[in-house]
């Protein structure tokens, strides 16, 4: 009788918990949020969670001791900057009271994250900020071994330095080829900024050389501004081959640094293959990536549309009109942190507004930008606020371009300070 009554009570409690899940804070326990990935999205989110509500126990899971930033890494490739200027530790993040677990997350279930050493981190809410993975199966001939010959340099670090060393070792008069992928991918203007700063290096140090961009698209971010600047700064040096003119690379041969297209083959002295991408691996493991390889999310909370209580931010997320940029990742991180803090108290987050600002350097003293303001639309996506946003004006004086180059550097100092400083 006693036992059965206890069983009944237990069932009753279980049933009402299932119907009316009480937020962790309402249950009196310190809510636990685990953030996986220590880039601009993840580290910003961990900090913003602590700022939003100091009662939240935040653990940041990151395999690397040092973060190497992608923004401005094209300046490293072009010989204008050292890689050390791109690198940040998690010391100050830990000093905010965030537990930094230096490990690879290997598994995720509805209650916990498992680390490579078998340790389990229970969570009330999980934030995944895994950035991108390369699709090693998407471009015939381009696997991890090929990347040692034809670097992608699309995750900053050794690959960045490898591409720079290859450019430095090349004789004057060589052909450099950049292969740019179809949308979506990390940093939409990135391939074209990279082409610009490599062109700047070649013009300065190896002026008989040529640079060709083989593009899987017919249009790209800030296109008119880039093309106007190329005509002004790098005439005859830089050629852009769009999809419709045979730009899509269909396979590569790493041994001979050859890139094949439907229209022919290009043998390069230095080849930078920016391959197709997908959300970082843990997104797939956690079941938050869909058939596209990216992660559908709710535009108010960034909660996965596929798994409850798991949020996805940064490059891995399908964020509608928002590009995959560091600024967007940081903006999403703060929005998501505020929403998670509210959800943990049982409150309903209100509709956010987010901003993106993205600078590109066409030369060291020549910057251009794109900016946008975003809000959830009726269709459940993040959409650009009508009438807002856009790119730098065409035909602006060089003083404006120089000012934007300085603002680009100031932006990098500011966002890396907020995220890691």
């Amino acid at each position: 009788m006693k036992a059965s009554r206890r069983e009944f009570l237990k069932l009753g409690v279980a049933a009402s918990t299932a119907l009316l899940p009480l937020p962790a804070l309402a249950q009196g326990a310190a809510p636990r949020v685990v953030v996986v990935g220590g880039g601009f999205a993840g580290a910003s989110c961990a900090r913003a969670l602590r700022q939003a509500d100091g009662r939240i126990a935040v653990t940041l899971v990151e395999a690397n001791a040092t973060f190497t930033a992608c923004p401005f890494s094209n300046a490293v490739i072009g010989g204008l900057r050292e890689l050390s200027a791109q690198q940040f530790t998690y010391d100050r993040v830990a000093a905010d009271g965030i537990v930094v677990a230096r490990a690879m997350a290997t598994a995720v279930d509805a209650q916990s994250v498992t680390l490579a050493d078998g340790a389990r981190l229970p969570y009330d809410r999980l934030v995944l900020a895994p950035g991108i993975d390369i699709r090693w199966d998407a471009l015939p001939g381009y696997d991890e071994a090929a990347a040692a010959q034809m670097p992608h340099a699309w995750r900053a670090g050794e690959q960045t330095l490898l591409l720079r060393r290859q450019l430095e070792a090349m004789d004057d008069g060589g052909l450099v080829v950049i292969s740019a992928p179809a949308n979506p991918f990390r940093c939409p203007p990135g391939p074209y900024e990279r082409a610009s700063l490599i062109a700047h290096y070649l013009k300065t140090k190896k002026p008989k050389s040529k640079l060709m961009i083989l593009d899987a698209k017919d249009a790209f971010s800030k296109q008119r501004l880039f093309q106007a600047a190329w005509a002004e700064l790098y005439p005859g040096l830089l050629e852009w081959v769009p999809l419709s003119k045979g730009g899509a690379v269909t396979s590569v041969d790493a041994a001979t640094r050859t890139l094949m297209t439907d229209f022919g083959r290009h043998q390069a002295k230095v080849a930078n293959v920016i391959p197709p991408q997908k959300a970082g691996r843990i997104a797939d493991v956690a079941g938050v990536a869909d058939g596209t390889g990216w992660c559908p999310i709710d535009p108010v909370t960034f909660e996965s549309k596929l798994q409850p209580r798991i949020h996805v931010i940064g490059d891995a997320a399908i964020a509608g009109a928002m590009p995959k940029s560091a600024f967007a990742a940081n903006s999403q991180a703060k929005t998501c942190a505020a929403a998670v803090a509210q959800l943990l108290t049982g409150a309903t987050p209100s509709a956010p507004k987010l901003i993106n600002t993205c600078y590109s350097l066409v030369a060291p003293d020549y910057g251009i930008s794109v900016a946008g303001v975003y809000q959830p639309s009726a269709s459940g996506q993040l959409a650009e606020v009508p009438g807002s946003g856009g790119v730098s004006p065409a035909g602006a004086p060089r003083a404006t371009r120089a000012a934007e180059a300085l603002l680009a550097e100031a932006w990098f100092r500011t966002i890396t300070d907020e995220t890691f400083g």
Binding site: G12, V13, S16, L20, L22, P23, L25, A26, Q27, G28, A48, A52, D53, F327, N330, S331, K334, T335, A338, A341, Q342, T345, G346, A347, S350, A351, P352, K353, L354, I355, T357, S369, A371, G372, V373, Y374, Q375, E384, V385, G387, S388, G389, G390, S392, T400, A403, E404, L406, L407, A410, W411, R413, T414, I415, D417, E418, G421
Partner: protein, 96 residues
């Protein structure tokens, strides 16, 4: 059970109210991507914390109308309503 639940809901609304009062209004959190929070950072972009509310509102209005020269703020200001700008400015004015 009923009493526990009622108490829990009461606690939840108190907690929500506490958090909501410190919560930045829509859009405000994004500003610090360019506008430094820390005084450690050297930037031509001004810190917003502690600025006069009316001054922030005026700047946003002038950026939006084109009266004030801008690089990106003209494009960003057009994405916010007067009410949103008021709320953001009021929030930054109270920050340290």
């Amino acid at each position: 059970m009923g009493r526990t639940l009622a108490a829990a809901i009461g606690l939840a609304s108190i907690a929500a109210a506490t958090v909501a009062s410190a919560e930045p209004p829509a859009g405000a959190a994004s500003c610090s991507g360019c506008h430094p929070v820390s005084t450690r950072v050297t930037s031509p972009v001004p810190r917003l914390a502690g600025l006069d509310q009316a001054a922030i509102v005026k700047a946003m209005q002038d950026f939006r109308s084109g009266q004030r020269a801008a690089t990106v703020m003209d494009r960003i200001a057009k994405g916010f309503t007067d009410e949103e700008v008021q709320a953001i400015a009021a929030w930054y004015a109270t920050q340290k």
